[in-house]
């Protein structure tokens, strides 16, 4: 499968906003890692931001829902809320796959 967006070698910069070690946050991180390993092996970075520790950061990326995944790179910025349990929708949200 070819990624619908981005050329090979493009660096993906992802940031996952969580609030502590909640089940939803943990599930989101697991799901995200799995998706990235499968579709973006070796060219992604995941930064986990715990808003319980640093609530000020919520303002910068306009975070309201938890967990929220923000695709910082490649542009444009995308936000995906939820625990990413629906892989299909996650891929569409990340624009790794076009809507069929």
């Amino acid at each position: 499968m070819t990624p619908a967006n981005g050329t090979a070698g493009e660096k993906w910069n992802l940031r996952l906003y969580t609030a502590g070690q909640s089940p939803k946050s943990l599930a989101a991180l697991d799901n995200l890692k799995r998706v990235c390993e499968e579709h973006l092996p070796g060219r992604y970075s995941i930064e986990v931001v715990d808003l319980l520790k640093n609530p000020r950061l919520a303002k910068d990326d306009q975070i309201v829902a938890i967990p929220t995944l923000v695709r910082k790179l490649p542009e444009p910025l995308r936000r995906i809320v939820g625990d990413l349990s629906d892989t299909e929708r996650t891929l569409v949200g990340l624009q790794l796959r076009q809507i069929k």
Binding site: A19, K24, L51, A58, V64, I66, T68, I80, D83, S85
Partner: protein, 517 residues
């Protein structure tokens, strides 16, 4: 029936007729609630808003530490009311506030409230108000799987902690519903939000757009709020009136009527019904009407201070001249007088009165007389009333003249006009202000009937009418009633001369006057 004491019954009737529900509040609009309001130990703790009138109808303010919903259609002033609550809290009651806005950026909001004379930026710089603009853009958000709005809570918590907020405003949480798909999550999170706000002990104001058939679109906020205030902006006969009503207020009594309110250069003001208990103080002092012969007819002394006087008559009978004499006399004594003209501009009024020897200009320049002209159609009835309240509170006149009151009927129904005038008469009496109203009776209707039915409200009623004698028309004036004094029952010939009004006895009738001295 034209005696002195024939009106008490009529007043009683008009009060119990149900047009105006008796109000529990005897205070008036201008009272500084925070200073005068006694703290009631058994009552719910309340956070004063500092908004004139609102603290009266809520009997002290919004429920402290609990959420209040302000709802209404677009353009009814929800955001401004919420913002003013917050700003006054920070400036007048030393309660810092957090402003969470979903629709406007902090900058836009600061601009909006600047027009009301509030400097939001300075309060932010001083650490008294924290602003967080929460933007929820649906097009940028995809949803997959479960989530909650913990991020929102963290941001609220942060904003509260930044300034140690005692008050918080959320404007408008419905934006969240536009941004997210999962309504079930949102509804449960909204409930959690209200619980969160209560736990934090902040006095919260939440605004909500009015929905179809319910107070808010989601139909949820009104149930979880402890107090719900509904704002309304309606247009009747091309004239708009803003009104507010307290729909619910848990654990306390409150005014239940619709109250008109005004948004002007100084922010909000709400007009409560004034006290209808008829227990205002009375004065035995007499004030001259400005026409010596008329004083003579009124027991030789003139009007009572703080009484209300009605001058009625058909067109061109000299009502304004009579009013002007009183205004001139009041100002001449060095007392302040407020003259509200609804037919003539101040310049025209002064020019015309000069022709009968009344020069108001020096007193206007001196500041003891204030002429205020506006068209009755400029505002709704209540808005006029609010304005009169404000002017009276600010100018503190000893006498107020309204020329003519009958013009208000053009803007509203007779019932509403009567209700408004009742409030006005009451308000002025409470303040011991002598009030003089002129009233234009339309030709054809009985001269002793006033369209607005205010005759029972006033203490002294003067009637000017045209009298045809032989082949000439002349004016006659008589005192229809004057409470608390033996007044003349004569009809005097009313003559406008370059030196003012003269009241002559009709030929052949000399000496027959009851109180002739």
């Amino acid at each position: 029936m034209l005696g002195c004491h024939d009106d008490d019954v009529a007043v009683g009737n008009s009060l119990s007729s149900g047009r105006i529900a008796p109000s529990r509040f005897a205070n008036n609009l201008t009272a500084k609630m925070k200073m005068e309001r006694p703290v009631q130990a058994h009552s719910l703790p309340k956070a004063p808003t500092g908004i004139p009138g609102l603290d009266e109808i809520t009997e002290g303010g919004l429920p402290r530490g609990r959420p209040t919903l302000i709802c209404g259609g677009p353009g009814c002033g929800k955001t401004l009311l919420a913002a003013e609550f917050l700003i006054r809290g920070a400036t007048e009651f030393d309660e810092p506030g957090a402003l969470i806005t979903f629709e406007e950026t902090g900058e836009e909001l600061a601009q909006n409230v600047r027009s009301l004379g509030f400097d939001l930026d300075a309060l932010v710089d001083a650490g008294k108000i924290a602003i967080d603009y929460i933007r929820v853009e649906r097009s940028e958000i995809a949803e997959t799987g479960e989530y909650d709005l913990e991020g929102l809570f963290l941001r609220l918590g942060l904003a509260i902690d930044t300034v140690g907020a005692k008050r918080i405003v959320l404007d408008t949480i419905e934006s969240l519903f536009a941004g997210f798909d999962n309504q079930a999550v949102l509804r449960s999170e909204l409930r959690r939000l209200f619980r969160f706000l209560k736990d934090r002990g902040v006095t919260a104001v939440i605004t909500g757009e009015r929905g179809d058939g319910s107070l808010t679109r989601q139909g949820l906020e009104e149930y979880v709020s402890d107090c719900v205030i509904l704002l309304d902006h309606r247009v009747t006969e091309q004239t708009s009136t803003r009104r507010m009503r307290i729909v619910k207020y848990r654990g306390t009594t409150h005014g239940t009527n619709e109250y008109p309110f005004l948004i002007d250069a100084e922010g909000f003001s709400v007009l409560p019904l004034s006290g209808l208990q008829l227990d205002h103080a009375v004065s035995n002092e007499r004030v001259s009407s400005g026409v010596p012969a008329l004083d003579e007819m009124l027991d030789g002394k003139g009007y009572y201070r703080g009484s209300s006087i009605l001058v009625s008559g058909t067109a061109g009978t000299g009502k304004t001249s009579l009013a002007a004499h009183f205004a001139h006399e009041t100002a001449r004594r060095g007392e302040r007088c407020l003259y509200l003209a609804f037919e003539e501009s101040p310049q025209q009024l002064m020019r015309n009165l000069r022709s009968i020897g009344i020069d108001l200009e020096p007193y206007v320049k001196k500041g003891t007389l204030r002429l205020h002209s506006s068209r009755p159609t400029l505002h709704g009835l209540e808005q006029h009333l609010v304005q009169v309240h404000k002017m009276v509170s600010e100018f503190k006149p000893a006498a107020v003249l309204i020329d003519p009151v009958s013009n208000f009927i053009s803007t509203s129904t007779a019932v509403e006009t009567q209700a408004m005038l009742l409030r006005l008469v009451d308000f002025l009496k409470e303040k011991q202000i002598t009030a003089l109203f002129t009233h234009l009776t339309s030709g054809g209707s009985a001269t002793e009937a006033t369209d607005v039915g205010i005759s029972s409200l006033v203490d002294t009623w003067l009637l000017v009418r045209n009298i045809e004698i032989d082949d000439a028309r002349t004016r006659g004036l008589y005192v229809l009633k004057s409470r608390g004094m033996p007044h003349s029952h004569e009809i005097r010939e009313f003559v406008l001369t370059p030196k003012g009004i003269e009241l002559n006895q009709f030929a052949g009738k000399a000496g027959k006057g009851k109180t002739k001295k």
